[in-house]
Symmetry: C2
Subunit: 116 residues, 2 copies
Amino acid sequence: MKKINKQIEVVFRLWFYSNKDKFLGKGRVELLQRIDDTGSLAKAAEGMKMSYRQAWQMLKEINERAPVPIVEKHLGGKNGGGTIITKEGKKAIKTFVDFELKVAEFIKKEIARLKF
Amino acid sequence: MKKINKQIEVVFRLWFYSNKDKFLGKGRVELLQRIDDTGSLAKAAEGMKMSYRQAWQMLKEINERAPVPIVEKHLGGKNGGGTIITKEGKKAIKTFVDFELKVAEFIKKEIARLKF
DNA sequence: TCTTTATATGCTTTTATAAACATATCGAAT
DNA sequence: ATTCGATATGTTTATAAAAGCATATAAAGA
């Protein structure tokens, strides 16, 4: 009988929920990170080859569900406006990324421990 | 500023992959457990209000992708046939369930440790 | 050989999700 | 007032995933 552990890979996903609603996951965090980098939802969407519409809806959900304000939007003005990540938003992103990393490390260790 | 950790919940899913293909996840494991309980794919499907077609396709994928034989099928015969979980199948199920539990415990501890 | 019951699949129809297209709006700066 | 670039949404179209329906097949036992 072949040993399984040598050929098994474990993949995981995790989400932050607030009030029974999912408000952060890997995809959303990437969007937020790109917004943080570019200062623009449109540019962030383009960067991850996602339609602006979709990205806008995603961000809308994040805002509706997050327990704290994640972004600050600006309409019109010199450069047409823009979107910036709030301080709380940055904290939430970091918390998620760190959490994800810890879980990944734990899983890696556990895989090594698997014996059949 | 409100503290986030008191209101955040973390949800996760994990999958076992073999050869870049997902072959076990929560839903599939439940199907297998029900097959193990009933000895029948049809009964298992019914039990989790899933169409037989769907369950059969799910099981087909599991079999195609798992590194070891998970079930043994029997066509025809006295009671029309049936499906039983192999010894390796049972081991895979247990491994998955145990793994999932450990990750859940780890996550629970990490949540408690979150501070903002 | 006919019955029984679970597995094995083809085919069609819904439903859900995502993509695509089209505009409207906002407000600083010119 | 007009321009400009980004946000804000309604509407429609295309794709994909799930459901539903129908039927064939296997093989032990009566």
